[in-house]
Amino acid sequence: MDSLSIESSTQRMLAGSVLLFCAFLALWEWGPTLFGIPAFIIPPASKVWSEFIYMSGNENLLFHTAITAGQVVAGLVLGVLLGMVVGFILGMSPTAEFLLSPYILALQIAPKVAFAPLFIIWFGYTVYPKILVAVLIVFFPVMINVLGAVRSIDPDITRLARAFTASRLQVFWKIEFPASLPPFFAGLRIAATLAVIGVVVGELVGGNTGLGYLLSFGEGAGNTAMVFVAIILLTLIGIVLYGLIVLAERRVLHYMPARVRADG
């Protein structure tokens, strides 16, 4: 196949994708009326759009979105750091893993969002309970992947470094840390989407800020369009975050053959 036909086939695919999106919008706009679905069940696209414009002007939508996004990023960063540190410690010390694994397993099985009310009791209607739920959710996929990566390093590689008279710290920075990055990024992708869930649950349970709050406010007011706006914005936060992580991954793991890197 020559490059010209590859180009034209990607163009055709792109055109198809745009066409599908237009069809989706059209179905959303006129479908409900066509099938007799009332606007309080599925508001048409135009109504959701005008609600978005209204909320931007009168409901401080930007502020609520920023609060939610900020909490997601804070929870993600803290959860990732914690997950990495604990993952490396447990990966390097079998004793620590033996002692701590029952607690970690219990905490991993427990549904993390169930902690949201508890954290609100502890910290009140502040940003902290939401960030904490996100930290808890993000922690596990990162920790497990880093732990697994450290464990699966070929011991002969470490021996090679030691034979070159490497110190413990050099073994970490030159071998263990870079070796853990591919599984770490796989964990980070999962963690990013989970972080949004953690923050929204926190906001649904209590408080008067964030998109989670707008979700429950819209529900209470019977404003379905508002609920739609909140869901779409939450999805957008997740997509942007995921995209940034994929970009970072491509830069950091550039050495891997493209087909090995899960480009999702």
Binding site: R162, P178, A179
Partner: protein, 262 residues
């Protein structure tokens, strides 16, 4: 008198299988040998006889249970910078380019300079990897990867090379080419090498002497001096008429014929 670059004095290594109570395994027992400066010595023996244990002890990664090991007259108790080892696996780090992999040892020893960088590239060119300096390991074939591993071993300019079946994972032709390169490099640089292998012809083609080890607990049962010229040219050495006699002697010592009949 020539200086001894590597010396084992009555070395015994006992492994304690910690998770199974008091089971003890004696890997090697009372091993003594010397390798003079610039000499290439092979150790050959049945599998599981403790050949690799010798290498791990020599590199200072594992302590000997009893006995002493000396490199350049200095007692080995932990890894030392002028001993380098090379294994059957290339152990190249996938996130480093070939040049960066070659510089690993220099980097660990904090010896990276503009001059050392130039030397690393020179070394890669000598190992026929000049065009792959900035490639990643996954882009190279098995033979090329093992060449890069050899370049990494030589980059730290070690006085003693410890090699554990470095070519056993390669196909027959690639193996001969790499043996040729190694033989030439060792002769040119005058480096001392202890070479572990289970390939009888490889041992004969590359070495000045071959040490034969017994079944576990491994100990040295015979020393054969290879009196064939051209140690710097293993390809030519392979074809020498005396190789057959050495192989027969080694087969006899290792009881290879008897194992086949049994």
């Amino acid at each position: 008198m020539t200086r001894q670059a590597l010396e084992f004095r009555n070395v015994t290594k006992i492994f304690r299988a910690s998770h199974r109570g008091s089971t003890e395994v004696t890997a090697i027992s009372d091993v003594s040998f010397q390798v003079a400066e610039g000499e290439v010595v092979s150790i050959i023996g049945p599998s599981g006889c403790g050949k690799s244990t010798c290498l791990n002890l020599g590199s200072g990664l594992d302590p000997a249970t009893t006995g002493e090991i000396y490199v350049d007259g200095e007692r080995v108790t932990r890894p030392i910078s002028h001993v380098a080892f090379m294994l059957q696996k290339d152990l190249l780090l996938p996130w480093r380019t070939i040049r960066e992999n070659v510089e690993l040892g220099l980097e660990i020893q904090k010896l990276v300079t503009a001059e050392s960088k130039a030397r690393a590239i020179e070394l890669l060119e000598k190992c026929h990897l000049g065009g792959f300096v900035n490639s990643y390991p996954h882009e190279l074939s098995g033979g090329m990867r093992q060449r890069a591993a050899l370049a990494r071993t030589l980059a730290v300019d070690p006085s003693v090379l410890l090699m554990d079946e470095p070519f056993s994972a390669l196909d027959a032709q690639t193996k001969m080419v790499l043996q040729q390169d190694l033989g030439k490099t060792l002769a040119e640089t005058g480096k001392t090498a202890l070479f572990i292998t289970h390939d009888l012809v490889e041992a004969i083609a590359l070495s000045d002497r071959v040490l034969v080890m017994s079944q576990r607990p491994g100990t040295i049962i015979e020393e054969i001096v290879v009196e064939i010229p051209d140690r710097d040219n293993p390809m030519q050495r392979r074809q020498h008429e005396r190789v057959g006699g050495y192989v027969a002697a080694l087969m006899d010592l290792l009881h290879i014929g008897e194992a086949a009949e049994a």
